[in-house]
């Protein structure tokens, strides 16, 4: 059974600081996704990582994938309050039928 673990689960940081969220998964996969969820809202797709070594950047967020280590990172640069949300990583098993989600990282950016 595919397991996806994120850490930290809770992250409080100051504006302007950098930090990294980690996503580990337990079985072979080369497709990983990052989503953002605001309170009471649905999930918004942020990044799709489809191969080993893939790196994608959008604004202050950068995601990378290391399939050999079964690890993805979401790096936050110079955080701003608008980034406060819960971030989920999700992994496709090699069969490509379903996404398995991590528990989420609740990020709070303080002024």
């Amino acid at each position: 059974e595919l397991k996806v673990e994120q850490n930290p689960l809770f992250l409080s940081m100051q504006e302007g600081k950098n930090y990294t969220i980690y996503c580990n998964y337990s079985t072979t996969s080369d497709r990983l996704y990052w989503y953002r969820q605001d309170p009471g809202k649905s999930l918004e797709s942020l990044f799709v990582l489809l191969s080993n070594g893939a790196v994608k950047q959008e604004g202050r967020l950068m995601a990378s994938l290391d399939t050999k280590a079964r690890l993805s990172t979401l790096h936050i640069t110079a955080a701003v309050h608008d980034l406060s949300a819960t971030y989920f990583c999700a992994v496709d098993a090699t069969s490509g039928s379903r996404l398995t989600f991590g528990e989420g990282t609740q990020l709070t950016v303080n002024p």
């Binding site: 996806v4 996704y33 649905s42 999930l43 797709s45 490509g96 039928s97 379903r98 996404l99």
Partner: protein, 116 residues
């Protein structure tokens, strides 16, 4: 439509009642998924349709839960004899197809179910 549409957005029911939740996926998406999300948790897989057929229903918690997609578009999640533990947000998502390299899931706003 432009996005995944779910109705109702909120449903309050009494223990033991029957509930139906509806999902209208993005036009042209053949793969449709149901997930359940409890407070403070990640989405939990329930069932996945490829076209009209349920390709994977291994996430349905018990036989009180059932889902259909008779024409390969709109899907209905049906819950019989609801229990308080069924209270959660039920999320529907779709993507182009269920095969490899088919990209991310696009999620609807969810149906919040509360069982009293």
């Amino acid at each position: 439509g432009a996005g995944v549409s779910q109705t109702p957005s909120n449903k309050v029911t009494e223990k033991g009642k029957y509930v139906e939740l509806r999902c209208d996926p993005i036009s042209g998406h053949t793969a449709l998924y149901w997930y359940r999300q409890s407070l403070g948790q990640g989405p939990e897989f329930l069932i996945y349709f490829q076209g009209t057929g349920a390709a994977d229903d291994s996430g349905l918690p018990n036989d009180r839960f059932f889902a259909v997609r008779p024409e390969g578009s709109v899907s209905t999640l049906k819950i019989q004899r609801t229990e308080r533990g069924d209270s959660a947000v039920y999320l529907c998502a779709s993507r182009i197809s269920g095969g490899p390299n088919t990209g991310e899931l696009f999620f609807g706003e969810g149906s919040r179910l509360t069982v009293l």
